[in-house]
Symmetry: C2
Subunit: 457 residues, 2 copies
C-alpha cells in the first residue's frame, strides 16, 4: 500500500487523510478538491453570513499549510470525472488539463449537493441561492454587499433554514420562512416547533407553514414567490434550503452500488461494494445504531467519524463504524434545540412501543442567579424500558448540547430510562441539580409509565 | 409493611421517603429531623453566605408543605437517641419529651459531621466556624452581620474551602486559605491546582500550602492562628473546612457494623448488617464502580441516589446501587473544575497501568465569538485502553460540568478511550466542535499511547 487517493477535501476526506497519515507516515495521501477550500467548516457559513465571523478564512478547520505539514498532498480545483476500477486510476479534470491518478486504495468523500426541489421554477434566477459549499456562501455574501437586499425569503424550515433566518435577521434583513411541514424544524416534535416559532416571532421572522412553493419569478427588481393554495411572497433574496442529496455521480458511473436514499452503499467498515474502494461522509448511507439499519443522514459529525474509519481501514484496519444516533443541535437566536435517538413516531414506525414524556425544569438550582427553563422530551420503550431518544430546548447557554450528549452516550450503550437515575453526574448549584435535568426527566418518564401501565398511556 | 421510619431529613432521608411514597401510597412514612430544616440544599450554603442567594429559605429543595403533600410525616427537632432492634423501635428525644417510635423498616440517613481536626486547639472559640448544616450557615451569617469581620482564614483547601474563599471574598472580606496539601483542591491533579491558585490570586485570595495548623487563639479582638514551621496568621473569622465524618453513633450503639472510613457498612441494596435496617447517604460507605470496592465519599448526588434505592428496597424492592465514580464539580470564582473516575495515582494504587494526558482546546469553534479554553486530563489504562477518569478545568460557563458527565457516562459503561471517538455527540459551531473536546482529548490520549507504546510513557 503506497498510494491512497481521496476524492473530496471536506470533513470526511480530510479526516480520512489525517487518520491515514497518523497510522503510517510512509503512505502517499492525495486529496482531490473540487474547489479551492480544503477542510473548511461549512457548518460555519451562517455565522459568516450573519457577520458574527467577520473573516471567512477563520472557518478553516486547518490551514492548507497545516495539512501539508501533515504530509497530505492537496490538489485544489481538481475534479474527479471517472473511476477506472480495473486500472485503479481516477480521471481528473484540472486547470492544467486532464490527468489520471493511480491508487492502491480509493476513498470517495464527494459529499452532498443542495437539493433542488422538483416542480419549483426559477431556481436559477439572480438573487436565488442555495447554501452548502464555500462558493455558495461567497455568492450570498457578495449579493448582500452588492445589492443590499432589504428582505429575504427562506424556502425550508430545517436546520439551515433556521440558522439562516437568524443570520439574515442579524444582517439587517426582514426575513420570512416558508416551510413545507406543519411546524418548523420538523426533526423535533411539534411541541418544540411551537417554541421555536415563538422565538422567531420575537425576532421578527415571519413563518408560513405547509407551503408548497411553485414558482420564483423576477418582479419589480425583486423576486416574487408563489405556491399552492394562493401562497404569495415578495423578497429581494431567496434562499432555498430544502435539504441535501448525496453526490454519487462518480460512483454510479463506475458501477459502484447505491443504497439507502440513493447514497453510496457501504458496510460498517466504510467499504463500498468494490474491493479497495471506501466511501464516507455525506455521499454514503449511514448505519443507525438504534434502528439497526442504514439511513441517509448527512452530518458533519458523522462525516468526520466515517472519514476517520475509512482512513484507518484503507491502511489495513478493520474498524467498524459504531453508528449514528441522529444527534443534532442548532442555535436559533437565543434558543438551542437538540435531539438524539428516535422520536415517538420514528420509534413507532420501527416497531417499538414508545412513550414520550415532557418535563420542564431549571438548568441549575433555581436559587442560584440566572436559572433557565429547559423542556426535555424523553422517548422510551414501554415494553423494555429502553431509552430510545431525547429532545431538549431552552436558552442556548443552558448546557443543552452537552445534556443531549449525556442522553446520546446512554443510548449508545442501550441504557434503560430508569438506569439514567444511576449515572453519577456532577453537581454544584450554579451548574446543575443533585438529580441533573437529564435524570429528572428520566424519572418523570418512569413515573408516568408506572401510572399508566406498560401498554395504555 | 406499614411503618417506614427514617432517621434524617436531608438528601438521603427525603429521597428515601419520596421514593417509598411513590411506590406505595399506603405506607406510613415518618422522618425524624434533628433540626428544623427538612430537605434543604446545604450545598447552597456558600451561595447564601456570599449574598448571591439573599434568602436562605430559597435553599429548600421542597417546602415542608410539599413534603406533607407527598404524604410524608415530618418530625422536626426530633433526635433519635437509640435503636431498639429487638423491639423494632427507636427512642427519640423531642421538645415534647422522650418517646418511642416503632417501625417495620428503618432507614438511617444521619449524614455526616464536620471533621474536627485533632491536635488543633481553640476550635470552640467565638469566631471559629464549621459549615455543614443550616445552623452552621446561620451562625456564620449572624457573625458576619453582627461583627462585621474584615478578614477570614479558611483552614482547608477542599471543595468547601474553595467555595467559601469565593463566597467570603464576594461578601467583602479579605480571605486567606491555609491548606494541608501541596496544591489546592487535591481531589484534582496539581496541574489544575496551579490554575485554581492563579484564579484565587486574581481575586485577592492568599493561599498558604502545606500548613499544619496547631492552635487558634483569641488576640486583639480577632483570632491568631499558628502552626508547624512557624505558620502565623491573623483573622477576624476562621472557618474550619477539613472534611466530613460519618455520623454513626446511633448505629454503633445499636451494634450495627461499620465499614470503610468508619461509615455504616451496607451492601449495594443499601442494607445494613441488620435485617430491616437500611442506611444511605453521608453516613454510609459507598460502592465505587471503577474500583469495585467501597470508599467513604460523602456527596449530595450520591446521597440522593442511595436514599432513593433504600426507599425502594425498604418497600420490598431489590434495586442495586450502581456505584459512584467520584464525579464532582465546583465553581471557584470564574472557574469550573470537574472530575470523574480515577486519577493517575489513584489508578496506580489500584493496580491499573494508567496514562494521563492533558489536552487544551476551545469549548466551541474558535471562529464563533467567545471561545473559552478547556484543559482536559484523560486517564486511561495503557494495557486495556479502558477509560478510567477525566478532569476538566476552564471558565464556568464553558459546559465543563456536562462534559465531565459525558466522560462519567462513558466510564459507567466501561468504554475504552478510543471508543469515545465513536460517540455520536451534538455539534453546532457556537456550542462545540465536530469532535467535541471530550473526543479531542480522547484522541490525543490514544495518539500519545501509540507514540510511546503501552508500557513506557
Amino acid at each position: 500500500m503506497k498510494d491512497l487517493l481521496i476524492v473530496g477535501g471536506s470533513d470526511a476526506g480530510i479526516s480520512a487523510a489525517l487518520r491515514a497519515r497518523e497510522q503510517d507516515q510512509t503512505v502517499q495521501v492525495t486529496v482531490l478538491l473540487a474547489d479551492d477550500f480544503p477542510n473548511y467548516s461549512i457548518c460555519g457559513l451562517p455565522f459568516f453570513l450573519s457577520g458574527e465571523v467577520p473573516d471567512w478564512r477563520a472557518l478553516a478547520h486547518r490551514t492548507r499549510e497545516e495539512l501539508a505539514g501533515q504530509g497530505i498532498r492537496l490538489l485544489p480545483r481538481h475534479t474527479a470525472t471517472a473511476i477506472l476500477l480495473r486500472e485503479r486510476e481516477v480521471a481528473v479534470s484540472s486547470p492544467g488539463g486532464e490527468l489520471r491518478l493511480s491508487y492502491d486504495r480509493l476513498i470517495l468523500a464527494t459529499g452532498a449537493s443542495s437539493r433542488r426541489p422538483r416542480h419549483v421554477e426559477g431556481l436559477d434566477l439572480p438573487g436565488v441561492f442555495f447554501l452548502r459549499w464555500m462558493g455558495d456562501g461567497f455568492a450570498v455574501d457578495a449579493y448582500l454587499q452588492n445589492h443590499n437586499p432589504s428582505s429575504a425569503l427562506i424556502i425550508g424550515s430545517g436546520y439551515i433554514g433556521m440558522e439562516m433566518a437568524d443570520a439574515l435577521t442579524r444582517r439587517g434583513l426582514a426575513v420570512s420562512v416558508a416551510g413545507h411541514s406543519q411546524s418548523v424544524l420538523k426533526t423535533v416534535d411539534p411541541e418544540f416547533g411551537v417554541l421555536i416559532q415563538e422565538e422567531l416571532d420575537r425576532n421578527g421572522v415571519q413563518v408560513e407553514s405547509r407551503v408548497a412553493v411553485g414558482k420564483i419569478s423576477a418582479r419589480d427588481g425583486g423576486l416574487a414567490v408563489t405556491g399552492a393554495g394562493g401562497f404569495q411572497a415578495q423578497a429581494d433574496l431567496v434562499l432555498v434550503a430544502t435539504g441535501a442529496e448525496p453526490a454519487t455521480e462518480l460512483a454510479v458511473t463506475a458501477g459502484i452500488a447505491l443504497g439507502r436514499g440513493g447514497a453510496i452503499q457501504v458496510n460498517r467498515r466504510m467499504e463500498t461494494g468494490v474491493p479497495g474502494v471506501y466511501a464516507a461522509g455525506d455521499c454514503v448511507e449511514t448505519w443507525h445504531r438504534v434502528l439497526g439499519k442504514t439511513v441517509y443522514q448527512p452530518l458533519g459529525t458523522t462525516a468526520h467519524k466515517q472519514g476517520r474509519i475509512a482512513g484507518e481501514n484503507a491502511l489495513g484496519g478493520a474498524k467498524e463504524y459504531a453508528g449514528t444516533l441522529g444527534t443534532q443541535v442548532v442555535k436559533i437566536f437565543d434558543l438551542a434545540v437538540a435531539r438524539t435517538g428516535l422520536r415517538d413516531e420514528e420509534a413507532k414506525t420501527e416497531g417499538f412501543a414508545p412513550l414520550t414524556v415532557e418535563t420542564q425544569c431549571w438548568d441549575h438550582k433555581a436559587y442560584y442567579p440566572g436559572p433557565r427553563k429547559l423542556h426535555i422530551r424523553v422517548t422510551g420503550d414501554r415494553a423494555t424500558g429502553r431509552l430510545l431518544g431525547a429532545q431538549i430546548i431552552g436558552h442556548w447557554q443552558a448546557d443543552i448540547a452537552k445534556r443531549v450528549d449525556i442522553f446520546a452516550t446512554a443510548i449508545f450503550h442501550g441504557m434503560t430510562v430508569d438506569d439514567l437515575a444511576q449515572l453519577d453526574l456532577s453537581y454544584t448549584p450554579p451548574l446543575g441539580s443533585p438529580w441533573d435535568p437529564v435524570q429528572m426527566s428520566a424519572q418523570t418518564w418512569c413515573h408516568t409509565l408506572s401510572l399508566h401501565g406498560k401498554t395504555d398511556v
